[in-house]
């Protein structure tokens, strides 16, 4: 009876230990899953912010922004893409902390890109607006200059022709000379 109780106690202890181990493992797995999901969330946020940056740069380009300045922003968007790739790769390897850090870094870069692109877009919109006003504003000026040119040109040519006609002399024929 004594031995049976001891055996039962050992079995119970082993069972408790197994349950404890399972709970601990489950906790670790949950923590890993949670960390992975957080890492993947930060990458999703980074991708969403990248899309915002891309949209802003495209708007700046459509507004007529300078190609060189747009190219600089595009280059930075490409560096964001490279960093997101790196973060994804780190996440696959299980390095959640570093993946998160890189993802948050790209979010900051993308936000700065959005700000600069908006500034560039506003600048370009204003410049394009003034360029259009200037282009269409010059139309009546050019027309007036052309009209004045044609008017005074015509007058000069007419006076020149009248003078030429008035200065004309009748040519004497050889027989008359004799």
């Amino acid at each position: 009876m004594k031995y049976t109780l001891s055996a039962l106690g050992i079995v119970l202890l082993v069972l408790m230990a197994m349950l404890g181990a399972l709970a601990s493992l489950r906790g670790t797995l949950n923590a890993d899953a949670l960390a992975l999901s957080e890492g993947s969330k930060s990458i999703d946020d980074a991708s969403a912010e990248f899309k915002r940056g891309l949209k802003a740069v495209r708007e700046a380009e459509a507004a007529g922004a300078d190609r060189e300045r747009t190219a600089i922003l595009v280059e930075r968007l490409n560096s964001v893409l490279g960093m997101i790739d790196e973060a994804e790769s780190l996440l696959l390897k299980g390095n959640v902390t570093e993946a998160d850090a890189i993802a948050y870094q790209t979010i900051d870069i993308s936000k700065r890109i959005v700000l600069e692109a908006v500034e560039l877009r506003d600048e370009a919109s204003l410049r394009t607006y003034y360029e259009k006003i200037f282009t269409f504003g010059i139309v009546p000026v050019a027309s007036l200059l052309l009209t004045l040119g044609a008017h005074f040109g015509w007058k000069w040519w007419r006076r020149h022709e009248i003078d030429r006609i008035m200065r004309m002399e009748k040519k004497k024929e050889p027989e008359e000379e004799k």
Binding site: L54, R58, V74, S143
Partner: protein, 212 residues
């Protein structure tokens, strides 16, 4: 009412005509010329020309033999575009991309290359790959493909595909772009209300290494 002199009438006619002509010119100047919008997608051999795609010009690739290609895309869309080239691994039975219904191939994606391209910008990069291993199971040969991208450091990706006797395996390249309307990546691109796609495939056979 005073009648206009002949000179004045002529001046008014010239002014109106000149205004019409110059307005048309101004409109042409401020309006961008419409042009055909498209992408170019290409694969070049190891010499960066459309030749020597396979070692010894044979599509029978032995295990461990490095094959080097250059993949490229050019943006002729007239604006900045976000481009993704998906590299897929398939055999002869897997469906190819459908250019009528704009459906991509269901083959598994081996890796993706992403880049934002300026208008008229060409992007090309090396793609080096090899067959890492072949596994024979009856008539079927399963090839494990390793992609070793040497563009920026070394990045190894692998995928497995099976084919009868290891024949007619293929690598499919699909061009995906960011659609500003849906704000998602789509296979191909939209141009003036139309949808178009671009994809390429390179066939090869997996062979066992020669035993000496």
């Amino acid at each position: 009412m005073r009648r206009l002199s002949e000179d004045m009438k002529r001046a008014v006619v010239i002014f109106i005509s000149a205004t019409i002509i110059f307005s048309m010119l101004a409109y042409i100047v401020v309006t961008p010329m419409p042009k055909e919008q498209f992408f170019q997608l290409y694969v070049l051999g190891e010499t960066r020309m459309a030749e020597r795609y396979y070692p010894d010009n044979s599509p029978n690739i032995p295990v461990g033999r490095l094959v080097k290609w250059y993949l490229g895309a050019t943006n002729f869309m007239g604006s900045i575009q976000y481009v993704v080239i998906k590299v897929k691994l398939g055999n002869s039975t897997i469906e190819a991309p459908d250019h009528v219904n704009y459906m991509p191939s269901p083959a598994p994606v081996l890796l993706e290359f992403r880049r934002v391209l300026m208008d008229n910008e060409t992007w090309d990069f090396p793609l080096a790959w090899m067959i890492g291993d072949v596994l024979e199971d009856g008539n079927m040969t399963y090839a494990t493909l390793l992609v070793v991208n040497v563009d920026s450091g070394v990045e190894v990706r692998s995928g497995q595909v099976g084919a009868l006797n290891g024949h007619n395996l293929r690598i499919i390249f699909e061009l995906w772009t960011f659609d500003p309307v849906t704000e998602n990546l789509i296979f191909g691109w939209r141009a003036g209300g139309e949808r178009r796609v671009a994809w390429l495939q390179m066939w090869f056979n997996a062979t066992k290494p020669l035993t000496s």
